[in-house]
């Protein structure tokens, strides 16, 4: 059975639709800007935040807005079907308004407003949440539990998360520069992105792709530091390739996690080397959007699908010179060309790693 994925949508500082986002990123724009004195103790920080976003209930409002626009990209009738599920991917949810129950409000509001047959399933697995959520969606459809799953990833910038990353000395003093020799940490971002996973091609209004459901693997090494050998990422991608009958040579593009921290990007380069994937054109989209945490896996998958539609691979914003012990094929200028199979990966706190494939039909 083919599992289809399509109807991608994205709200970020670069645009209110996925098309606006793709066209801004293609033109070399970034959502990252300097916020004087916004950090703890008035430190200047770079962030990627959505202008004019009302902070109260921003998380809930973004998810509702995107679910509305996803309905314009599919047959909207399926949303209320008992065979449809909404999956939410987020790390901190509605922390701003309700720190003691950050997801309860959204679950209740979505179910009521959209007359959903099931309460949305919230997946909260740090930075791999998005990729994991798409895989969960694929599995729930493949197993027949549901026919359609709408997957939405969202996280908003907060003092809470910013101060936390600052306390770990993990925030970059310049816009993040994934895989670059001069990289010095993450730039936090916010965004909301969605994709639809289904067993039925006819619900989609535009071209769809094939989802190659992937695996997750824990590093079993450290809760906040990446494995030095890339063991979990290696195992995750290895299993994802194997279960989909794809070999490393078939990968035309890697949408890497690439946070811009010294250790994460180094870990990824080691894992990709072990996997025989250093040939594949690769980028991290965090130079355009910052690290959007629970939204990142969905946002980056959505942008990868746009790259397939448009036949253009985006440059890895912020990258100038190789800064990992293994040389990767990091994209330095937008590249025109046809892409058949892409690999999306993610790694995060808690030692999680996840990966998936998107293929042209």
């Amino acid at each position: 059975m083919i599992i289809y994925i399509g109807a991608e949508e994205l709200i970020s500082p670069l645009g209110k639709s996925v098309e606006e986002n793709f066209s801004a990123a293609s033109a070399g724009k970034t959502g990252i800007a300097l916020y004087p004195q916004a950090g703890f103790k008035g430190v200047n920080v770079h962030l990627s935040t959505i202008k004019d976003l009302e902070r109260s209930f921003a998380f809930e409002n973004l998810v509702e807005t995107i679910l509305d626009s996803v309905c314009n990209r599919i047959d909207p009738v399926i949303l209320q079907s008992p065979k449809t599920l909404v999956v939410i991917s987020s790390t901190k949810g509605g922390l701003y308004d309700s720190i003691s129950d950050p997801f309860g409000n959204l679950m209740e509001r979505l179910t009521r407003l959209f007359k959903l047959a099931h309460t949305p399933l919230v997946i909260s697995n740090a930075c791999i949440s998005g990729v994991l959520a798409i895989n969960v969606a694929g599995n729930l459809v493949k197993s027949g539990h549901y026919n359609h799953v709408v997957v939405i990833g969202c996280d908003v910038v907060s003092d809470f998360v910013l101060y936390g990353f600052q306390s770990l000395f993990a925030v970059s003093d310049a816009p993040c520069a994934p895989f670059d020799a001069g990289r010095s940490g993450v730039t936090l971002g916010e965004g909301c992105s969605a994709v639809v996973v289904s067993r039925d091609m006819s619900i989609f209004k535009n071209e769809v792709f094939k989802l190659g459901i992937g695996s997750s693997a824990n590093d079993a090494n450290h809760i906040s530091g990446p494995s030095r050998t890339g063991e979990g990422l290696y195992r995750s991608v290895q299993k994802t390739l194997e279960s989909n009958g794809v070999i490393a040579d078939n990968i035309d593009y890697i949408s890497a996690h690439g946070t811009g921290t010294i250790y994460n990007d180094e870990m990824e380069s080691i894992a990709f080397d072990r996997l025989g994937l250093t040939h594949a054109p690769l980028n991290s989209l965090k130079g355009f959007f910052g690290h959007t945490l629970g939204a990142a896996g969905i946002l980056e998958t959505a942008m990868s699908m746009q790259m397939m539609r448009n036949g253009t691979l985006l440059k890895s914003m912020g990258y100038k010179a190789c800064g990992t012990s293994v040389n990767l094929n990091v994209i330095t200028e937008n590249q025109i060309g046809s892409v058949q199979t892409i690999l999306k990966t993610a790694s995060g706190f808690g030692g999680g790693n996840a990966s998936l494939l998107i293929q042209k039909l």
Binding site: F40, T91, K92, G93, L95, I99, S100, D101, P102, F103, G104, M107, T119, L121, V122, I123, S124, N125, A126, L132, V136, N139, L140, K142, S143, H145, D159, F160, Y163, G164, F165, Q166, S167, L168, S215, S216, A217, N218, D219, A220, N221, H222, I223, S224, E231, G232, R235, K239, S243, F349, G350, G351, G352
Partner: protein, 189 residues
């Protein structure tokens, strides 16, 4: 455990309930003291299940045991503690911040056991047997041999922990939503 009372809260102790359990079962894993209550509860309950099935769990390949945990309140205890560290104490604490994600407990259990398998943490409005049934069914049909699953909901006022082991090749109780709900309601940990 499995319907038997194996420990009882001692209100006269200066230790909290989780620490009482750690000491009572004579566990030796000093990292336990660094963990937040959510991770402590996950570590303790996984150790208790291991102690009850010592041979079987050791015989699985290092990536054959999947972890599936869920709760309602995510990482609320650590979230409030971290917020307090920057709002009240004016010094955001990195050791509290790293526990402000509910999936950290998965990492702690994986590290304690060197398990490289599938991991998932979900937030649900309440304990939902059908969630575990659906997802365990998927995992057991896609490479995992066993699933250590549970509900770990911890707030400042309440600790609610229900952990269970699902295995492909062994079955003491048939796994279905009815039996799972029955066990949960009887508070059989």
């Amino acid at each position: 455990m499995n319907g038997k009372l194996v420990a009882q809260y001692d209100p006269s102790s200066t230790d909290g309930w989780l620490k009482q359990l750690y000491k009572g079962f004579q566990l030796n894993y000093p990292k336990f003291y660094k963990m937040d209550p959510l991770a402590q509860a996950g570590y303790l309950s996984s150790e208790l299940i291991k102690a009850n099935h010592p041979d079987r769990l050791l015989n699985y390949k290092d990536d054959a045991i999947a972890l599936v945990l869920a709760n309602r309140h995510a990482s609320v205890v650590s979230d409030l503690a971290f917020k307090n560290s920057y709002e009240i104490q004016n010094a955001p604490s990195p050791s509290l911040f790293v526990y402000t994600l509910p999936n950290i407990v998965l990492g702690e259990v994986a590290i304690a056991n060197k398990w490289y398998g599938e991991n998932m943490f979900a937030v649900l409005p309440k304990f939902a047997p059908e969630f575990y049934e659906q997802y365990a069914d998927i995992l057991l049909n896609s490479g995992s041999e066993a699933v250590l699953a549970g509900w770990l909901d911890i707030t400042d006022s309440e600790i609610e922990v229900f952990m269970f082991l699902l295995e492909k090749s062994f079955s003491e109780i048939k796994f279905n939503t009815v039996n799972l709900l029955k066990l949960a309601e009887n508070r059989v940990v």
